[in-house]
Amino acid sequence: MDISTRQSGTATIVDVVGDITLYNSPEVRKVLLNLLKEKKSPRVIVNMLSVKYIDSAGVASLVEGLKLSRDLKSTFALFGLSRTAQEVFELTRLVRVFEIYTNEEDALRGGSPNTNAAPVR
């Protein structure tokens, strides 16, 4: 898995490429917590377009990011969930907890997230 960040206006986009699993999710967590806690990013958006599979450790890391963003009064969103990732979020009943968008434009624009957004593939 590769993870990198880029800036778009005031938002920071976290590009994740590859599966997020038990063994690499600590890396995702570290990046997210650093962006929120140290860099004080007001909006963190995770690009899931290239994440085919996420397990519950990956989901838990994203939940930690979401929780911290709420504690710090910043915002946290996801976009581009694969069908499998969407199913994981549905099974864990998190589709209505996270801001989930279909694409980057919508995630940057914010507003009403489409919690039932069709998966991108």
Partner: protein
């Protein structure tokens, strides 16, 4: 068997493309052979139900698949490796990819439900404790036990213990999940909830699932494929539709719930009384 890889490569499938491939598996208890050369495969992401009556060898088969019994012969291929022939160290590594829900729950009585679910994550991963806490709550929520993380197993009903055991089996996000009689002893609503959970897990996490059961309604709901074991041999192996359509006498007897005929022959009856095994009826 020349094509079978022997390296430690991360090939998630057996050489045939199946998640599990069992070949000529034999298991003995002492001098008594329980499984007499079992062959079957489970394609990745599918659910196999192992059916069979009491004493058919289905629980022995499941225990052997997870490494609790040592085969006396044959091969068990999982993730591209022969589980039956690997070192204990390699087996331990492979077991991290497996989850097992035992019939009686088998929770650690001195630990809370949450600690039971967290144990493998604490022992085998580098995850932060706060991540583990969230994972434990996710797993407990999936099995309908939200809020029970601080309960001791003794405080739970039988059905709740079973669900807690499933949450523990799920803790490491296994690629292969084994269930021993998941619905036994549960009321119909809880049992239906467990069937539903198995279906959801397969769909969302792409888990390959092996279930031992004699609950026919549950079996036909969750299975992609089924095998019917009888006296240590597979008498039927196919899709649910194939088994339902089978005219094989033993399959029909099992699926149509026809009781064993009484022993009418004097020799059969004498063999039964003296402990000799009567001939298998077809």
């Amino acid at each position: 068997m020349a094509s079978i890889p022997t390296s430690k490569g991360d090939n998630p499938q057996a050489p045939t493309g199946a998640a599990i491939s069992v070949r000529n598996l034999r298991v003995n208890y002492g001098s008594r052979e329980i499984l007499h050369g079992i062959n079957f495969e489970v394609p990745a992401g599918e659910t196999l139900v192992i059916l069979g009556g009491s004493g058919s060898g289905k629980s022995t088969l499941l225990r052997t698949l997870v490494g609790l019994e040592t085969p006396s012969g044959g091969e068990i291929w999982m993730r591209g490796k022969n589980f039956a022939a690997m070192s204990e160290e390699d087996r331990d590594e492979l077991r991290k990819k497996m989850g097992m829900s035992f019939q009686g729950g088998a929770l650690f009585g001195s630990m809370t439900v949450g600690e039971n679910v967290a144990l493998a994550l604490q022992e085998h991963t580098e995850l932060d404790e706060s991540t583990i806490e969230i994972m434990v709550r996710l797993k407990l929520d999936q099995v309908g036990l939200s809020g029970f993380e601080n309960y001791m197993p003794a405080q739970l009903s039988g059905g709740m213990k079973k669900r807690a055991a499933i949450a523990r089996a799920l803790s490491m996000d296994p690629e292969i999940l084994f269930f021993d009689e998941p619905s036994a002893g549960l009321d119909p609503i809880i049992a239906a909830g467990i069937d539903d959970l198995i279906l959801k897990l397969k769909k969302a996490f792409r888990i390959t699932i092996v279930v031992v059961t004699h609950e026919l309604a549950s079996a036909f709901l969750i299975a992609d494929r089924m095998i019917l074991l009888d006296k240590g041999v597979i008498v039927a192996n196919g899709t649910t539709k194939e088994l339902q359509a089978s005219s094989q006498p033993r399959v029909r007897q099992f699926l149509d719930r026809i009781p064993e005929p009484e022993l009418t022959g004097e020799i059969d009856y004498l063999q039964m009384l003296t402990g000799d095994v009567p001939p298998i009826r077809q």
